[in-house]
């Protein structure tokens, strides 16, 4: 029996949330707008209309490239990619072919989801591996086809929305690795604030390329020697699965494909090079079209847009906008704040959460009594709502962590004294002016020098007053 080694690469599309579209002034946010109302001559591809590139989108692509440790090409250009499809207004998509904005990067991932809780630094390192990023480029999104009974309608509201394509090398060997990578990438994109990367809305879309090759590892003693595997030649086919809109479905699609392809290979056949779709309900992939070869696209430099020339200090200026990325933040939370790895992981998944955590720590820092891990516990276990203002969070935290101790004997005696020395107020209370009790509460609080909770004071007072009646 032959062992097969999965060879998986990824194409990820992320819609940028710039104010305007990639090549015109229409809003990039097309959600919920009536069909074809968010359009203009440029994104409709009307005769004579010309594209003018969105500087912000270019800047953000550079930012993504740097976040993924890519080399930024100082000269880049747009190209036309030709194919006919009704949602493609010009008969070509403006994309980038041989001179993308960013190339040759990498992203570190943990090999197994279960290993994210490993706290020992050394064994953690061993579980990490770098996924190489082939390229990050910028292009325009297409319109959308809307199928209504036997008719198909075209909505161009999405046409021309900036779309960043991130392509990895075929460095994944399991569906789990892909899922971990995608989650990390998703986190990074959201950290950068350049996209909502919302899979349900389709602002992040994933296309795995999947194939199998004969496993050479059985001949290699060190199972972790991945570099050996990478130098092996790739299989002579690949299957691309399109339009998957959740990490879970990516995993399911890959697992299904690996099984399907293995069965074909076992029969001595080669799987067809094609594009397949994923049926979420049945959890199977199905054929869509045989893959168009890259050479059918007739790429050539977009003559309407002059080449992009980046100055080094422009790149540096963009790079300086890079926030601390989740990986670095996680390390800092573990190493400097002493958080448990798993907790640090949870806190760094959304930048807003991490920022909130640090805002709370900053305020607490002045009081010096609470350990970061204690704060993390409160936040993660939702003991205190993170919807509170950090100041209020801290107040609550202090109350929870350092509850007030009340001398009940003293309280009982104080309540007695106050009732006795305020007969008029007591009379008012008894005649139905229930608010009068608040005066008494105030008096008791003052006597107790605040070392008691208001709730308890009211309870005690009511008890006594009722008793007297």
């Amino acid at each position: 029996m032959i062992d097969y080694q999965p060879v998986i690469g990824l194409e990820v599309h992320v819609e940028l949330k710039t104010k305007s579209k990639m090549f015109c002034q229409c809003a990039a946010n097309y959600f919920g707008k009536p069909p074809n109302t968010n359009t203009c001559p440029v994104c409709l591809g009307l005769p004579g209309a010309l594209p003018v590139p969105n500087q912000k989108a270019i800047e953000w692509t550079v930012l993504i490239g740097r976040a993924l440790n890519c080399h930024i090409n100082l000269v880049s250009k747009f190209d036309r990619k030709h194919y006919f499809y009704p949602d493609l207004a010009k008969g070509y998509q403006i994309s980038q072919y041989d001179e993308p904005i960013a190339t040759k990067g990498w992203l570190k991932i943990k090999n197994q989801i279960s290993n994210i809780k490993v706290t020992d630094q050394k064994s953690k390192r061993e579980q990490e591996h770098r996924v190489r990023i082939n390229r990050v480029h910028l292009e325009e999104d297409t319109g959308k086809l809307v199928h209504q009974s036997s008719n198909t309608l075209v909505d161009f509201n999405r046409s021309g929305v900036p779309l960043v394509e991130i392509v990895t090398e075929p460095d994944f060997t399991s569906a789990d690795e892909v899922k971990v990578f995608l989650e990390e990438l998703h986190t990074i994109i959201r950290y950068l604030g350049v996209s909502d990367a919302d899979m349900e809305k389709g602002t992040m879309r994933m296309e795995p390329n999947i194939s199998l090759k004969i496993d050479q590892r059985s001949n290699i003693k060190d199972q972790n020697d991945k570099s050996k595997i990478k130098t092996d030649s790739l299989p002579n086919y690949k299957v691309e699965v399109k339009n998957i809109n959740s990490f879970r479905f990516v995993k399911q699609a890959i697992e299904y494909e690996l099984k399907r392809q293995e069965e074909i290979l076992e029969k001595g056949q080669t799987p067809v090079q094609e594009t397949r779709g994923f049926d979420e309900k049945r959890q199977v992939t199905y054929p869509q079209r045989t893959k168009e070869q890259a050479h059918d696209y007739r790429y050539f430099p977009e003559p309407d847009i002059p080449p992009l020339h980046f100055a080094k200090d422009y790149i540096e200026q963009i790079q300086s906008q890079l926030p601390e990325l989740p990986e670095a933040k996680l390390d800092r939370f573990v190493n400097e704040l002493g958080l448990r790895y798993g907790d640090a992981f949870i806190l760094t998944r959304e930048k807003a959460t991490a920022d909130y955590f640090e805002a709370v720590l900053k305020i607490l820092g002045n009081q010096g009594k609470v350990a970061p891990q204690q704060t993390a516990n409160l936040l993660i276990n939702k003991k205190i709502s993170s919807r509170l203002d950090p100041q209020d969070f801290v107040k609550k935290a202090m109350q929870l962590l350092f509850p007030q101790t009340t001398d009940i004997v003293q309280l009982t005696s104080v309540v007695k004294t106050i009732i006795a020395s305020n007969p008029k107020v007591v009379a008012d209370y008894n005649s139905g002016k229930k608010n009068a009790i608040m005066y008494l509460v105030g008096q008791v609080m003052r006597e107790m020098k605040g070392q008691v909770e208001v709730k308890l004071v009211i309870e005690k007072l009511k008890q006594k007053l009722t008793y007297r009646n």
Binding site: P47, G48, A49, P51, R80, Y92, Q293, D304
Partner: protein, 454 residues
């Protein structure tokens, strides 16, 4: 008030001095169109919706909001643009009103208007001859004084060629000098909107209005815009390059007329200097490959989903160009055709840049022959390329060039001369052209052309 033959700026002066109303001028030209256009067939659409400005005719590949725009192709048969091109927008903002849209080769593919899906425009000098093209409708309308000025577009000679054959002034500005936004794309890296006029001064005036950076066209630049009209008041002395390679296969009568012109230029104090320019044949090859490639791409949006008519309405020339362009861009052929052509394009550019270190301007013929008889097209495969052989180098390099009438041949047909300049030196081209006009009145060509249509 006698309007016949008045230049655009003369008419403008009369309007400014309130000696005539624009309505009267409009009426005058509409009457002339009514009288002569049934024979000439210069106009696709005549427009009478606003007479508040000076009339101007516009080639039918400029998008004019709510006015039928076809690029003379049946694919866009009933197309009403929802937006205005930058060029026409600027015209309406500067005191012009649309008189009509002029016939052209479909999609600007040709040098005769013969590929128009609607009709063939006739040469006003001889109705049995081509007007040249692709801006043939604009050139013919102007030559017969059916409009005081017209807009053309020049991808590989489409302004200069019909200007030469119809005996008018036609300028192809530097690529990127005038916005292409709203001009239906033909060869995107070559397309240049430009004015066609009866005088050099009119041309300078229109260029001044139209030049400049446009936020809707990323290929326009911030290069300073000189006062082209005022610049004409100060005649400059130039070193003028003359290239032997531009006289190969050129008709003898055109050559001798050009020599006569050179004598005039020398008399005016200019120095003529022989220069070595790459043979135009290289530019033709480069132009053919790149333009076809861009055409195949630009026409792919007319896929039958959105516009009036489907792909089977494309004429033979559009289909030929699409086929050749698709081939040039195909995998396995891209390097041999498109990529190599781009490399040679760089050589052509460098060649011109080197020459413009030694000379201010370059002159030469711009058509190998004068207007051909209708039907002669068939004798010339690659008709357009042969007719535009002398025009295409400037298009490939993206430098500005003008065509001026310099006389008539024995058959009484206009002969054109081309002046090419360095990037963004339209001011120098216009300065020399104006001096020549002042000295010779184009040997009476423009005047004679108009007088044929009293």
């Amino acid at each position: 008030m006698e309007v016949l033959g008045k230049s655009l700026l003369e008419l403008k002066a009369l309007v400014d001095e309130k000696k005539i109303k624009t309505e009267e001028i409009f009426h005058y030209f509409l009457q002339r169109i009514k009288k002569y256009d049934p024979k000439l067939k210069a106009f696709m659409t005549v427009v009478d919706r606003d007479r508040s400005g000076l009339p101007i005719a516009v080639k039918d590949n400029y998008c004019t909001k709510s006015v039928r725009t076809t690029a003379s192709s049946k694919v866009l048969d009933d197309y009403l643009p929802q937006y205005e091109s930058t060029v026409t927008e600027k015209l309406w903002k500067n005191g012009f009103s649309l008189l009509g849209k002029t016939n052209m080769d479909a999609w600007a593919h040709g040098a005769s208007t013969e590929t128009s899906d609607y009709m063939l425009t006739k040469n006003p000098w001889d109705l049995t001859r081509y007007p040249g093209g692709s801006s043939g409708g604009s050139a013919a309308a102007l030559s017969a004084y059916l409009t005081p000025a017209a807009m053309g577009s020049d991808t590989g000679g489409s302004i200069r060629h019909p200007a030469a054959w119809c005996g008018v002034v036609g300028l192809k500005p530097t690529y990127g000098r005038v916005s292409r936004y709203g001009l239906i794309s033909m060869g995107s890296s070559f397309d240049c909107p430009g004015p066609m006029t009866l005088t050099v001064k009119d041309n300078a005036y229109l260029l001044g209005l139209l030049a400049g950076k446009d936020r809707f066209d990323a290929t326009t630049t911030n290069t300073a815009i000189p006062d082209y009209v005022k610049n004409l008041d100060t005649p400059q002395r130039f070193i003028i390059g003359l290239a032997e390679s531009y006289f190969e296969n050129v008709d003898n009568e055109i050559k001798s007329r050009l020599n006569q012109t050179i004598t005039v230029l020398k008399k005016l104090g200019h120095q003529i200097k022989p220069v070595k320019i790459l043979s135009p044949k290289y530019a033709i090859s480069v132009y053919t490959v790149l333009q076809r490639s861009e055409v195949s791409s630009n026409l792919s949006r007319y896929d039958g989903v959105r516009y009036a008519n489907g792909r089977h309405f494309f004429g033979a020339e559009a289909k030929r160009r699409t086929m050749l362009g698709t081939y040039s861009l195909s995998y396995g052929y891209y390097d041999a055709f498109y990529k190599r052509a781009q490399k040679v394009r760089t050589l052509v550019i460098n060649n011109f840049l080197a020459i413009f270190r030694d000379v201010d301007l370059i002159i030469g013929p711009n058509t190998p022959v004068t207007a051909l008889k209708i039907g002669e097209f068939e004798k010339y495969p690659f008709f357009g390329e042969i007719m535009d052989a002398l025009n295409e180098p400037a298009s490939v390099a993206g430098i500005p060039a003008i065509s001026l009438p310099i006389g008539l041949d024995r058959q009484g047909l206009p002969i054109g001369m081309q002046i090419m300049g360095n990037y963004f030196r339209e001011d120098l081209i216009l300065n020399l052209a104006h001096q020549f006009e002042q000295e010779t009145e184009f040997f009476g060509v423009i005047k004679k052309g108009i007088e044929r249509y009293q």
